[in-house]
Symmetry: C2
Subunit: 309 residues, 2 copies
């Protein structure tokens, strides 16, 4: 860890650090490009193939990182559904502007035609939040939040915590993936999934189970034509976007996996990165914002180097 | 104004109100649908044709309400550009996922081919913020904000204020429209315009001149294929989306105008509406958020009744 990153950590998070300063005391002025260029291999981690989902569309692959630390039963069930090929041949049925894209069984409401489930579960108890466990990684953002007492990042996911209730939960930022449900809290389970494609709908936090985040291929969802029916549902069957397959990456031959790695969020480099986004130092900016919202956090993803693959 | 709306105003904004209560004292539980159904004609206003812009694409019309109270010179210049048909035949040149769609002269950098300007201005001094004038309508949101001291709504636009600096400014919510610029603060002027299509990029606030908001047709921009070049620029000319025309609504025959009206934001009904979005009362919600971000504010638009048109 460099002196530079330590210094910025101290400024941001009040970490005690008082070694002789080999550099001037003024605030560093790194851009995001600087931070990424200075990052080392240990600032990145590969995706765990057992917790990575591929949503395969005719237009390409959407890569979703699953969050078993926050929704263990839903993650296990979505993987079980994928492994029994529940999703294959289903479709994206909804694209509501500035809100969500959703995929599901278009015949889910028709008992005689609905896709059968063999081993997985159709519904599960909700995992809207989990107990606040301080051993779960949490890089707190000191900028505050309109919705939650504490917000930050945990293993790359945007997270909120409330020490009063002793709970923590994933938050609805752009690209987050959740399990749709009906009115009953326990009516979801992963047979229908949605991804956020607009302004963070934070009102959904703690009301629906989030279970992952889109890591790559987001534009294959966000640029879909919006549905013209109520809530953005496609009105005609031929407007739906067929799902070729949903696979757990571990079940895909290694040579066919997306060789991606994501930046760790428990590092000094990530704290540098946040600062580079909080106060933009690129020449274009006249007035650095001085603050950053959790859903404006950067989530760098890159191709693994061939040697690391 | 009904007792109901007064009561909610009092609860939300600390307005003194102590008339005998004809209804139980508990907090009202209105949904957005309830509020809209109860709204009266005076809760709505038509768009001013002189401050409404139509961006005409092959796919349809994007309706933009201009904000002369915040960017008078840019608004006047964009109207002048439209009136000399500067934009006609130009194109959407950029669609960057979770950020902006931008339209401009694809040949702007080529002196011999760039579109000429006759009467309008190519560049203007920035209008990143304006002086805080308390006679400008401002319905403050008491929920706070990560970026600004005060946020709220002014004539339907999301706005921030800072009493310390004596400034107020439009904020970068979904659908807001601004004037692209180069590195110099005074290098914009409206020849290229952008609309926000993702998570509110609040770091742009006070760094670029916002001048309006998309009122209708947003999906014609937000669902465009993302450009694959740097910053989402389309790499090939044939990927660009041609602009048929940009017109000031006042210059369009009345029968061809979009007959839209927007909800006023300085009314008790609007405060009811905000509350209905802050604490969702629809049966689906288990845990009302209790808070709302300015960029999650509702901006209702509806067709004018035939009689009003």
């Amino acid at each position: 860890m460099s002196t530079r990153t330590l210094l910025i950590s101290a400024l941001l998070f009040g970490v005690g650090w008082s070694a002789p300063a080999p550099e001037p005391p003024q605030r560093k002025t790194l851009t995001m490009a600087d931070v990424l260029a200075a990052s080392t291999a240990s600032d990145w981690r590969p995706l765990d193939p057992e917790n990575t989902l591929y949503l395969e569309l005719a237009s390409g692959r959407v890569v979703i990182e699953l969050a078993p630390a926050f929704a263990p039963r839903h993650v296990a069930n979505v993987k079980a559904l994928a492994r029994e090929r529940y999703y294959d041949g289903l479709a994206i049925v909804r694209a509501q502007d500035n809100y969500v894209v959703q995929w599901a069984d278009p015949d889910a409401e028709k008992p005689d035609r609905a896709r059968k489930i063999r081993n997985a579960r159709r519904t599960l108890p909700p995992e809207f939040e989990r107990s606040l466990d301080r051993t779960v990684p949490f890089t707190r953002l000191p900028d505050g939040d309109v919705y939650a007492r504490e917000v930050g990042f945990s293993d790359g996911f945007p997270v909120a915590r409330d020490p009063r209730t002793g709970k923590m939960w994933l938050v609805h930022c752009y690209g987050m993936v959740g399990a749709g449900r009906d009115t009953a809290a326990d009516s979801g389970g992963g047979t229908e999934l949605y991804a956020v494609i607009g302004q963070a709908p934070r009102q959904l936090d703690r009301n629906v189970t989030l279970l992952g985040r889109v890591i790559a291929g987001m534009e294959l969802l966000s640029a879909l034509p919006r549905g013209t029916g109520a809530m953005g549902f496609y009105e005609k069957a031929n407007q739906r976007v067929p799902i070729k397959a949903v696979r757990v990456a571990a079940d895909v031959p290694a040579s066919e996996r997306s060789a991606l790695e994501v930046m760790r969020t428990e590092t000094a480099a990530f704290q540098d990165l946040i600062e580079s986004r909080r106060n933009r130092r690129e020449a274009w900016f006249q007035t650095p914002a001085g603050h950053i919202e959790v859903c404006n956090g950067p989530f760098p993803v890159r191709l693994m180097s061939p040697g690391a693959r």
